[in-house]
């Protein structure tokens, strides 16, 4: 915790919610949350590096335990994709695996205790502010959701052609009558807008709320021995629940990715 400001509950929470932001000369919008970017890149290299190393030495004979684990993971993702997407797996399954593994690892950073990690970031990395959970940053989740959105539009155009897609935008739910074109367009616009919004904000909200509740429960320790013990017990309960939430949100993000890309492949 920074020694400059007085340690009140609000300042404690606000310190823990401040990103390590670097602003370029263009200012304003062109800021980078360095902590988020670095953590997500390092986690990605670590996770996918591990997967790549295991698949490099894969044998068709009796597999080792790590290979069996990776095969389990890939089978799990393939099952989910097969249940939803009737096309070829080559296009969607790797995307689903990437999204699932990366989001799972980024969410799992929330398991590390906030104050212990704050000591680490301050004394080992010498950064005043550092938020360790990349998916608790709305930029990360929007980046992922907008990438899926871009892929959705790409596959729409690839499968139906630009003309076919525009025709579908104007005629889809209600019919081809020119009087209905504005309503069709409005309906489709709302559907297209709401998909990336809900996709990203669901993940962001869950991780952000989880962090806030960890911080608030930690504040009880400031009220004395009873507060520390009760706060610790509640902290334990919330951590166990949060394990479920972390895995569940990664799974939901993957499922929705598959569903959106599968819907983009559909014809009417």
């Amino acid at each position: 915790m920074a020694a400059a400001t007085e340690l009140t509950p609000t300042s404690y929470i606000q310190h823990h919610l401040t990103f390590l932001t670097k602003t370029s000369e263009a200012g304003g919008f062109w800021q980078v949350n360095v902590d988020t970017v670095l953590t997500s890149v390092i986690l990605g290299v670590f996770a996918f590096g591990f997967l790549w190393m295991v698949t490099r030495r894969a044998t068709a004979g009796v597999p080792s335990k790590t290979q069996a684990f990776v095969e389990l993971l890939i089978d799990f993702v393939n099952e989910q994709v097969k249940g939803i997407f009737q096309g070829e797996l080559k296009t969607v399954a790797p995307l689903a695996l990437t999204v699932f593994v990366w989001v799972l690892f980024m969410n799992a950073m929330d398991f590390l205790p906030v104050d212990v990690m704050a000591l680490f970031y301050e004394h080992v990395l010498h950064q005043p502010n550092w938020r360790g959970v990349p998916t608790a940053d709305v930029n990360t989740t929007f980046a992922l959701a907008l990438s899926v959105f871009a892929l959705m539009i790409f596959y729409n155009i690839k499968v139906k052609g630009v003309g076919g897609w525009v025709h579908e935008l104007f005629c889809a739910p209600f019919g081809g009558n020119p009087l209905l074109w504005p309503f069709n367009l409005l309906f489709n616009a709302v559907e297209y807008l709401s998909k990336p919004l809900s996709h990203s904000l669901r993940l962001y909200g869950n991780m952000y709320a989880g962090e806030i509740i960890f911080l608030l429960l930690g504040l009880w320790a400031a009220t004395g021995i009873v507060g520390t013990v009760v706060g610790g017990i509640l902290h334990l309960g919330w951590s166990i629940f949060h394990i479920l939430i972390v895995a569940l949100q990664a799974y939901i993000f993957m499922m929705l990715t598959i569903v959106y890309v599968a819907m983009a492949h559909e014809h009417h």
Binding site: R202, G205, Y208, I212, L248, M255
Partner: protein, 91 residues
Amino acid sequence: MDPKLQLLAMIQAYTGVGIGLMIGLGALGACVGVGIMCSRFLEGAARQPELMPQLQAKVFLLLGLIDASFIIGVGLAMLFAFGNPLLAVIK
């Protein structure tokens, strides 16, 4: 009372009520929705126990989807609690 202090008190009071409403009503909707979904799951599992694993997987998926709006509301409520933008008018 100092008028600025009065304004501050008013903004904070109404923000507090707003936060309570956001979280309370969101929780109400989410819990009722999850309750309905889980009751249907139990009914379906009682009818066809062999489908229970697949239904259970779908239950968890739908749980996350139903909770989404509530959690987004909690996130917004936390924003108002700790970084209230409405206070900018008096600072």
